[in-house]
Subunit: 214 residues, 2 copies
Amino acid sequence: MKRELISAPIPTLKRLPKYYHLLKKYSKTDKQYVSARMIADELKMDPILVRKDIQSTGIVGKPKIGFELKELMKSINTFLNWDNLNDAFLVGVGGLGQAILGYESFKNYGLNIVAAFDVNKEVIGRKIRGIEILPLDKLANLAKRMHINIGVMTVPPSAAQEVADQMVEGNIQAIWNFAPVDLKLPETIILENVLLSQSLGVLTHKLAQKINSI
Amino acid sequence: MKRELISAPIPTLKRLPKYYHLLKKYSKTDKQYVSARMIADELKMDPILVRKDIQSTGIVGKPKIGFELKELMKSINTFLNWDNLNDAFLVGVGGLGQAILGYESFKNYGLNIVAAFDVNKEVIGRKIRGIEILPLDKLANLAKRMHINIGVMTVPPSAAQEVADQMVEGNIQAIWNFAPVDLKLPETIILENVLLSQSLGVLTHKLAQKINSI
DNA sequence: TTTTAATCGATAATAAAATATCGATAAGTA
DNA sequence: TACTTATCGATATTTTATTATCGATTAAAA
C-alpha cells in the first residue's frame, strides 16, 4: 500500500530538531501554547520561516495563540519518525562510537542501538552501557534476522566502505556515517554523512575573515 | 588594516572539506592534475557546482586538464584557514570530548587543542593524549593570557550557557558547540553548532518515507 | 457587544543556490 | 599546422529557499 508521501526541504528537516529541543524545555514549564513568533524570538530566526517549517509537519494552529505545545511536539516527532523506535546497529567502538553508545537520549530521536560491532579483539565480548560488542563478521546475518533498518558507522575511513558493504548485505536501509569517506552504495540506501570537518571549515573560515578584517 | 574579504556561501564552505578529503586520497597516487569533472564524478555531484566551489577559493585552472592537485589542496586549505593552526580550548571531557581530543587529525583542519577543562574532580589533573585536564575556573584567565581564539564545547546542555559565558569572558572569538542548546552570545562571536539530532532527523524522516512507500 | 491586537495560513515577491549555456583556451591527434 | 576534444571561466537561467504581504480568525480589552 502506497501512502501519501509528505516531504519537506532538507533545511526544514534540519531545523525541526532545533525547535523540538526548545519545546522540550518549554514542556517542563507550565506553558500550554507556543507561537511561531515565540520560537523565532528565542532562536533569533524569522517567525515566518518557523511557521512554514511547523506547517510542513501537518499541524494546524490557532490564530492569536499559536500551537498546542504537546500537540506540536508530537507532530514534529511523528514527522521525523521519532515516535517509532528504530532498532540500529553501531559499528566501530572507538572514542566516537563509545560516545554515541553513551547517549541514552538518542532513544528520544527514534534511534535504539541494540548491538555494537568491532574487529578489535580487545573490545569484543565487553559490554558498554549494557550493549555487548560483537565481532564484525556476525553483522550481516544478525541484521537480516533482526530486521535492522539503521546502521551507525563510527569506524576509521579505511574500514568504512567494507563495513558499509556488510550493512547492505544485511539489508540495512539507512546508514548514519561518521567516517570522512564518500561511500559507494546502491541508490536505494539512505545515507546521512556527518562530516565534522564541514562545520569546522565554516568556523575556521569565518574566524579568518573576522581576524583579517580588523 | 582591512584586507579584502573573500567570502562564499555556507553550502560551498561545507562542500570544500569533502573535496579536500578526496584530494588527499589522490595526493597519495601519482596524479598531478584534477578536473572539476573528476571530483564531481567521484562524489556524484554536478561538475559545474564543483567548479564554482573551487573557483570561490580563488584558484585558476587550465582548460582541458583542470587544476594542479597540490595547488588546489593548498587553495582550499588557505581559504578555510586550515594552514594557520588555531590554538583551541576544549571544555567537557566526557565521551564526545575525549573522542575529539583523540582525533589527532583535527590538526590538519586548523584546530590545535592545547588544553582541556572540566568541572569533574575525577578527571581534573589527568592527561588525555598528552593534554592535561584543568579546572573550568581557570579557563577565562588562561584563554586571555594565551590569546586563544577557538573554544570547543562538549558539555551537557545544562552547563553549556555558563561555559560559553566563560569563553566570551576569556576573549574567545569562535565557539564550536556540540551541546543541543541555543547559546546567547554577543553578535561578534562566531558560533558553529553541531547538532547530531539534525542529521538524525533527516535520516529517520527519509527512512520513514521509504518504508511507508512500499 | 464592539474593538483591538496577535497570530495563523495562503499566496506573492525576493534572495540565494544550483544548473545550464557558450565562447575561449590548451592538449592531443590527424 | 589544422582539427578535435575536454575543460575552464563568465554569464544566464532555473530552481529552491527565504522573506514579505494580506485576509481570516480568535482571544482579550474596551
